[in-house]
């Protein structure tokens, strides 16, 4: 079957990907705040285009609890949330990872209250950074669609068995109409066959899940999680490679744009990468040796890939989308500083926090951040962070 290219809202495309993935259970609380992802999925199920149980729960806490139950019996399980909803489900969010339940979530990144805001930044996901999920950031509608399949493939791999969050910028991606190339169902079935989960809850082979751990065993249980998340890296890279071989769209943990001869780079995560690339093009025309480093994989953090791209550069200008209040800077910059600490010849890191709660960061702002950041690094002014565009 020929590939179909559609101009479609990213949320709708994502829900159609979920249907193509032949998901068994969708549990979601579609509010706080709402996207069209689960709304459209309920229509898909109601019209009989997907044979699944759609569980319209009474809160996000229950959404993740239902997901835990259905993933525990080996059913392919999907949910979506953002912002306050993620905060409410955070207790069970952590437990899902600890119990190795392969749920896939579309996390439409939006700011946390207060003041109440429904717009885009990364403060929600950063609050659950250490929960033990695999976190992937996507940049476009096409990537949002593609990563539904790769994420199920990764999550359900017997060597991984971890939940995966597909982070996509709220509004900037979720509510945007973009051209997206659809794969046919046959390609999807080939790439993502039904998986029979080992140790699923079933009366024919009873297991106890979610047991109580005394101090004698808790530390070992955490080590098991740590090893599990770190080792998932190999499966992630392989799943992306195979997706690329099938579709021609390849993904890597750390991606770059015009970095080969760059002296300094802007580092982004999520949809900002596209604007950054445009600005880099225009600065290149002015003779600036600048490039873009984009982090796709946030957990497990791809230390080696990042160091490979970062070393040899003079300066990294990191654009964060969240603040660690009273801390060393934005979460991404902190991570990168730590990844490069003590590495001989490591680049200087200048940190900006920008675009909180959907405040627009246009090309001119990227241009300011890059040039100002470069000047700061030259002066040796690399401590802390700058909250870009703050008034008063």
């Amino acid at each position: 079957m020929a590939k179909v290219r559609k101009g479609i809202e990213v949320s709708i495309a994502m829900s159609e990907a979920v249907a193509q993935a032949n998901v068994d259970v969708i549990a979601a609380y579609p509010i706080t705040p709402q996207t069209h992802i689960v709304e459209h999925l309920s229509e898909i199920v109601a019209e009989g285009h997907l044979d699944a149980e759609y569980v319209p729960v009474e809160s996000e806490h229950s959404a993740m609890s239902v997901c835990c139950g259905s993933a525990a019996v080996g059913a392919r399980t999907f949910t979506s949330t953002s912002s306050q909803g993620l905060a409410l489900m955070s207790e069970i969010f952590t437990i899902a990872a600890a119990m190795r339940l392969p749920v896939v979530m579309a996390l439409a990144n939006r700011s946390l209250s207060s003041p109440l805001s429904i717009w885009n930044d990364h403060s929600d996901v950063m609050s659950v950074r250490d929960a033990g999920w695999i976190h992937v950031f996507v940049e476009s509608g096409q990537e949002s669609y593609d990563h539904v399949f790769t994420s199920f493939r990764i999550a359900e791999d017997p060597a991984v068995m971890l939940p995966v969050a597909i982070n996509l910028d709220g509004f900037i991606l979720t509510h945007m109409i973009e051209p997206i190339e659809y794969e046919d169902d046959e390609t999807i079935r080939k790439y993502l066959p039904d998986v029979k989960m080992k140790n699923a809850l079933h009366p024919d082979s009873p297991v106890s899940m979610g047991c109580f751990g005394m101090p004698e065993i808790y530390t070992e249980a955490q080590m098991h999680r740590q090893v599990g998340v770190v080792n998932s890296y190999g499966t992630i890279v392989k799943a992306w490679q195979e997706w690329g071989d099938l579709t021609g769209r390849y993904y890597r943990p750390v991606e770059t744009y015009r970095t080969d001869d760059a002296d300094y780079c802007i580092v982004t995560m999520g949809s900002y990468g596209e604007t950054a690339m445009e600005v880099v093009d225009s600065l290149r025309g002015e003779g600036e040796k600048v490039g873009v480093i984009k982090l796709r994989l946030w957990r497990p953090f791809p230390f080696e890939d990042f160091r490979r791209e970062a070393l040899g550069k003079k300066t990294l200008i990191v654009v964060d989308r969240a603040i660690s209040f009273g801390g060393p800077g934005g979460p991404v910059a902190s991570e990168l500083r730590s990844a490069l600490y003590g590495v001989p010849g490591a680049p200087k890191i200048v940190n900006y926090v920008a675009g909180l709660a959907g405040r627009d960061v246009a090309r001119v702002d990227f241009r300011n951040i890059i040039l100002e950041g470069k000047a700061k690094a030259e002066k040796g002014d690399t401590d802390g962070f700058t909250l870009y565009g703050v008034r008063g």
Partner: protein, 309 residues
Amino acid sequence: MDKFSVFSARLVDKTENFTSGHRACQGCAEALAVRHVMKALGRDTIVAMATGCMEIISSPLPLTSWKVPWIHNAFENPSAVISGVESGMKAMMRKGKLPYKKINYVAMGGDGATADIGMGQLSGALERGHDFLYVCYDNEAYMNTGIQRSSSTPYGASTTTSPAGKVSIGQHTQKKNMAQIAVAHNVPYVATACSSYPFDLMDKVKRGADTPGAAYINCLSVCPTGWRIPTEDAIKYGRLAVDCCIYPLYEVIGGQYKLSYKPYKKVPVTEYIKGQGRFRHLTDSDIAFIQGQVDREWEKILKLCGEGK
């Protein structure tokens, strides 16, 4: 219920699905209730359990007392977890990913998990009408963590967070009536039970599990540690609770109330209260006040069950 008493013990399955060797306190009538419930359900059952006494005594890694598939996730969410279990199994069986099998889906929790922190999730699962049975083991306080009051603690009981004092009677609110709240969801089966009446309990568990749709059982589970009674008296106090009518046994099937047991002689509530350490501070007039409440509630239940004067 009398008609069961002689021969029904022989009819009960000897298989233990909740095995001995767990770490419950001596005389725990809640562990006894779990044992009876699991006998009634049999092996083709999946259990989702809330955090609490029964969870920690039965599942310390690497041991387990459960012969059936069992999942614990968090304190407040067994109803949502079982909703997911039931939905997942239903979808996979319908799609041919799993062969069809009749399975009992059962959520369990204590009164804190049920009436307090998990109330919204229980309400959601009852309202959505998943095919599951919820069993609340009601020992009338947070016993696992050291006897803190819950909304299911009865009026006048002294707990570590509702202590009796010079200016306090202890718990000064009324016990939340979870069975009535379940009835208000219009689910097809609701019952009250007590582990001092094991055959009645098992009968109700079977009926609840066999009923398509959501079912709720509130099982009074005497806690010698928290009620401050001798361990050998747990069964006695369960019977006294029913005989004095402070805890009536009844079923509500499709909205129709049916009394399970009417005491031959209604025992004064003071006989139930006097021996319990948690009520030790109550005066005669306090007990008379409680007797008045019990009488009124009992009359209401009799009327609902069509047994009124």
